[in-house]
Symmetry: C2
Amino acid sequence: MKNLISTLNEFYPLSKESLEQLNSIFVEKKYKKKDKIASFGEVPTNFFVLKSGIVRSYVTDEKGKEFIRALYVPLRAVGAFSSLITKKPTETVYDCLTDCTLLVGDFKKYKQFAKTNIELANLYNVILERLFVRMEKRIFELSLLDAKQRYLKLKRYIPEIETLIPQYHIASYLNVTPVQLSRIRKELYK
Amino acid sequence: MKNLISTLNEFYPLSKESLEQLNSIFVEKKYKKKDKIASFGEVPTNFFVLKSGIVRSYVTDEKGKEFIRALYVPLRAVGAFSSLITKKPTETVYDCLTDCTLLVGDFKKYKQFAKTNIELANLYNVILERLFVRMEKRIFELSLLDAKQRYLKLKRYIPEIETLIPQYHIASYLNVTPVQLSRIRKELYK
DNA sequence: TATAGATGTTAACCTATGTTAATAGAATTG
DNA sequence: CAATTCTATTAACATAGGTTAACATCTATA
């Protein structure tokens, strides 16, 4: 329990009762590298809090090429929120880039509790707010910065990134080809 | 009152009491083309619901060049939410591209009510959820589509857009120069 | 209505990034 | 440890989109 409590209190302090309700919908679970936590075309039912490891989200084009849209580090809320919200099948896949430990939450039960438990409604607000702020930053990044600046920004955000995941995943997150990332690195470190 | 009620019930049905609380924090207000509803560097205190007209948000680079990041049409929630949430000065400016009517809401009072009124907490959830879904779509758009496809998508979203705002604003929203948009249009309509 | 400013188009040229393919070293597995 | 597969680099070439500038309309207002 300790772990769940300390993890979630990072977001929003909760009463005992709320924590008990959370307990009833969250389960801690270990995943292996490459395990999917949300698959293409499914209507997801869970959301997650990442305890350790790195998770990515990506979409796939007609030719099967993958585009990583987000990288998640510990304590971030993870999940196909757009699909949880709209109840439509997700086009975004979420999987583990390393072995991971996640808190798995039942979204429907959560929303059920949030209807009457205002602490949980407000915790959900806080999570959505954080996701929102992060997303807005990502939009600025993608539209205002060139690939070199996006690369430097990612390295500031996760300095160990290059030891954690292969370069072609980083390139995909930056929205460039591995070839272009290689050029950028050459230019930077020459 | 009718107007406020019908506008907000588009989002989430509310009890009389909640509507009264909302009434106490919302004011309907008319704005002229070019009026700002959130200015660079200020910590905003209001959020808005657009009743009529078109609002844009934009950021400015070191050289003073403007980048439109979002366009808002009637019934959308508008505001510098990232700054409202983080309480940090906004780098995004919001202004009216046409004469507009907006519901102006006091964010702090709203949050105050939402602490104890679960309907308002849940309405805020719904607003954040919608903003989130819209934002995620925008990220896919900016990173997966080329300028021509983004242009076609915008025209599907707001078919009258070309009669409402000048082409260079459209180009800015699409993240290309007016020159490039002109090329795209030539190519499409030849 | 004459003039200045705002808007859109086009051309010429430049740059960032994509595509493909060859190569080589690193990592994984039989 | 040999063979295979993965990953990163590099080169050659192609393309989308940026920059600048000239020009043509259009619009507003003095």
